[in-house]
């Protein structure tokens, strides 16, 4: 059986990370997604290195399960074709701050398609003094104080590595689109949605806003996170681990100290803190006694430390980099990675959609498209004459 969104049509008028990831998720779930690209292509096609074949790896990872049409939206022909695509679509995913054609704004579309769910993924929201500013990943992270949870106070800011603002906004956008499609049957029409990079970051930090409201005591791992030093895990002889005393009792603690040959620590002035605190990043004094644990762990491998700690009631995990992640047995067991035949690359390993549906499974149906690869096919579906034949201004090249 086809994916949960089979039968829905989406049009993507965005590039970079947020819009493309949102639209790809719709495609992974079975929707027919048409990506409208300017003649020079999605900006992410030029990102990197690294490249796979001749295309940027990030672009390939965010654009499978789509068809691509090139349209020059600065020409009447391009705008007209885009309008016809939107007229028969269920969903539009749009970057409103970089839209080349004002005629394709939600307001300008007017009555073209009252059933359309129009999702704008903006930089800062559709109201307020910054509504028209183009968004960006690092700006959203800085402005939302996300960089206060990394690095050291007084030193240069450190960015969250995983394009958090863009990815979070994409994930929230998919939620909103699906909710609006459900509501469409109730209210009889589509509607406009706005999700922003900035707002998504602020929503993802909302636990902190509650913590800052009026705490009984100014400590605890939410509040501590502002003032602690960088957390690199617990280094052992051959790598780092996540380490927590978890439910370890005093006997287990004493046994662990003995097995680690750390009896010397009982003479350290910080020992009372070591013995009372929850090891791991959430502990009140974890950063104060961290070096004592690491002095003990330095004599053993990660596997040895994890085995000892777990035996006595602790909780540990390896601190994997991507190489270790890709090769991990559990990761293989639950199919975190799947393969896709990408023209010009061959069999390519890709991250699977996260959801597992019993009846309507997500599928990897299409590789990321070449620029304009499906222009002719899509124009034929619309019954529009190809501009290549007519040589009109807004051409639709087929590569």
């Amino acid at each position: 059986m086809a994916g949960p969104l089979a039968g829905y049509r989406a049009v993507e008028l965005a590039d970079g990370v947020a819009g493309p990831y949102c639209a790809m998720q719709l495609g992974d779930a079975g929707a027919d997604v048409i990506k409208i690209e300017p003649p020079e292509g999605d900006r992410a096609r030029g990102w990197g290195p690294p490249l796979q074949g001749d295309t940027n790896a990030v672009f390939l990872s965010l654009n499978r399960n789509k068809r691509s049409i090139t349209l020059d939206l600065t020409t009447p022909y391009g705008v007209e074709v885009a309008r016809r695509l939107l007229a028969r679509a269920d969903v539009a995913v749009v970057d409103p701050n970089r839209l080349a054609a004002p005629d394709l704004s939600y307001e300008a579309l007017g009555d073209l398609n009252r059933q359309l769910v129009y999702c704008a993924i903006s930089g800062y929201g559709d109201r307020g003094p910054w509504a028209d500013r183009p968004g960006g990943e690092l700006p959203a992270q800085l402005l939302s104080e996300a960089t206060a949870s990394l690095g050291r106070i007084g030193e240069p800011p450190v960015r969250m590595g995983h394009d958090a603002a863009s990815m979070y906004a994409a994930v929230y956008s998919v939620q909103a689109i699906c909710a609006a499609l459900l509501a469409r049957d109730q209210i009889g029409s589509g509607q406009k949605i706005d999700v922003s990079l900035f707002g998504s970051m602020l929503a993802m930090r909302s636990t902190l806003w509650v913590a800052l409201s009026n705490p009984d005591e100014w400590w605890g791992f939410h509040l501590d996170s502002y003032v602690k030093p960088p957390d690199h895990g617990y280094r052992c002889k051959d790598g780092a681990i996540f380490f927590s005393l978890a439910r370890m009792d005093r006997a287990g603690f004493d046994d662990l100290i003995r097995d680690l040959r750390m009896e010397w620590v009982r003479d350290d002035p910080l020992f009372p803190l070591l013995a009372q605190d929850t090891a791991g990043g959430g502990g009140r004094y974890s950063h104060v006694v961290h070096h004592l644990w690491e002095r003990g762990f330095a004599e053993f491998s990660t596997v040895e430390v994890m085995e000892m700690a777990e035996r006595h009631g602790g909780l540990t995990f390896p601190m994997n980099d991507y190489e270790a992640l890709v090769n991990d047995p559990q990761v293989k067991f639950v199919d975190v990675f799947q393969t896709l035949e990408q023209p010009g690359v061959g069999q390519m390993s890709v991250i699977a959609p996260p959801w597992q549906f019993s009846d309507t499974p997500a599928e990897l149906r299409l590789p990321a498209p070449q620029l304009g690869e499906h222009s002719a096919e899509i124009l034929a579906e619309l019954g529009v004459r190809s501009a290549t034949g007519a040589q009109s201004a807004g051409n639709s090249r087929v590569h």
Partner: protein, 393 residues
């Protein structure tokens, strides 16, 4: 106008963060979330009083259980289990994030629940998946983040990767993906005429949110070093120190923006330099590019660059803090931080709805005490034609 999910009922058997975060999103969109707590046990993070607390309650419980009604059910007691089945008959969605096998032992497997309500969308969230060597391992936000390498691509230049100290990101991410899946299954129900089972592991969710970086690793075949504030994929895309010792972050991600950036910074010679002629070239020569730009930014104060870059429509930003954010007109006008009244903890700040719907607005309302609505919900259950009947296919 009610939210987009008005009429949808969710039986919310969740605890700690990942499950509660998921149902809280659905509640913000107008679904009726019935959050189950076991009397005397308090399955959520409430009881432990994990600091920081407000009136003795962990702020985690307060932050992750907004937009819900609270119901006490002792699922090991026969009578309460019958009540659960009655509620599930009129529910659209069932969410559970207990360890693999626990729901089954309580008589709440998908097979059992779909037999009494074929329309039910059953969502199970686990740490590591329901099969494999780690299936029964405990797993929560921090562990999943460490395990999936979330830390590995971020850190000061020349240092090892570091963990994002505001734990919650992998829990919230997984809860958000779960909410997506539930909404997708509700849409599929219109076509297929029945519900289905959804399985999510935090392992797959935390990996999916790192798609761009992991894709780069797979293409490169080696692990990248952290770059401080700089992007792996684009340049110049980093923070610069200004004359007044403050930072401005700037993201140039297209060739058009690069040309404008060079005009704004009056560095008109740079586009002609072959080392900086394309993004690929600039990424390969990031160190030289940074060296060329650092003295430029250090020659003027932060506000100068913010004004100039905004005038040129180059994405830029600077570090803000909560105390500025909560009063900032951009935040206030978009309801991104809201002040919510709660029954037991006074008014608290939290993140407002991240989605703006033009026709069916989302709204955020307070967190219930565990079991706060038990009487009200049981009364509704006694009335056959009550507003309880969930929206049917």
């Amino acid at each position: 106008m009610p939210g987009p999910l008005a009429g949808i009922r969710v039986f919310d058997l969740t605890m700690w963060m990942v499950g509660p975060w998921c149902s809280m999103q659905l509640g913000g969109m107008g679904a009726d979330i019935i959050h189950i707590e076991q009397p005397g046990v308090l399955w959520s993070s409430l009881g432990a009083g994990v600091p920081p607390t407000i009136n003795g309650t962990s702020i985690g419980y307060i932050a992750w259980n907004m937009n819900k009604r609270g119901l006490f059910l002792d699922l090991k007691a026969t009578e309460d289990r019958s009540t659960a089945y009655e509620l599930i008959k009129s529910s659209d969605v069932f969410i559970v994030n207990m360890r693999t096998g626990v729901a089954d032992r309580l008589g709440l497997s998908y097979e059992a629940l779909s037999a009494i309500n074929p329309n039910i969308v059953y969502c199970s969230i686990t740490g590591w998946g329901e099969t494999g060597p780690m299936a029964t391992r405990p797993g929560a936000d921090t562990q999943v983040g460490y395990f999936t390498g979330l830390w590995s691509t971020q850190g000061a230049t020349g240092e090892a990767g570091q963990v994002y100290r505001h734990f919650t990101q992998t829990d919230a991410t997984s809860g958000n993906y779960a909410a997506q899946a539930i909404l997708m299954a509700l849409l599929a129900r219109k076509r297929t005429g029945r519900g289905q089972k959804i399985e999510l592991s935090m392992l797959r969710c935390a990996s999916a949110i790192q798609t761009p970086r992991i894709a780069e690793y797979l293409a490169r075949g080696s692990v990248a070093e952290p770059l401080g504030s700089a992007s792996q994929a684009t340049a110049p895309d980093q923070a610069f120190l200004c004359e007044d010792k403050q930072y401005v972050g700037v993201s140039v991600t297209s060739e058009a923006e690069w040309k404008t950036f060079c005009a704004v910074t009056e560095q008109l010679q740079l586009p002609d330099d072959p080392r900086f002629a394309s993004n690929v070239a600039r990424v390969e020569h990031r160190a030289e590019l940074t060296a060329a730009l650092e003295p430029v930014f250090r020659s003027k104060p932060q506000f100068y660059w913010v004004m100039k870059l905004n005038a040129g429509r180059i994405p830029c930003g600077y570090p803000m803090q909560f105390e500025q954010l909560r009063q900032h007109p951009q935040v206030v006008e978009n309801d991104y931080i809201v002040d919510v009244e709660t029954s037991a903890w006074g008014n608290v700040y939290t993140g407002g709805p991240p989605w703006h719907f033009s026709e069916t607005p989302a709204r955020w309302f307070g967190t219930p005490m565990p079991g706060e609505h038990t009487g009200e919900i049981l009364d509704e259950l006694k009335q056959p034609a009550a507003p309880l009947a969930g929206r049917q296919v």
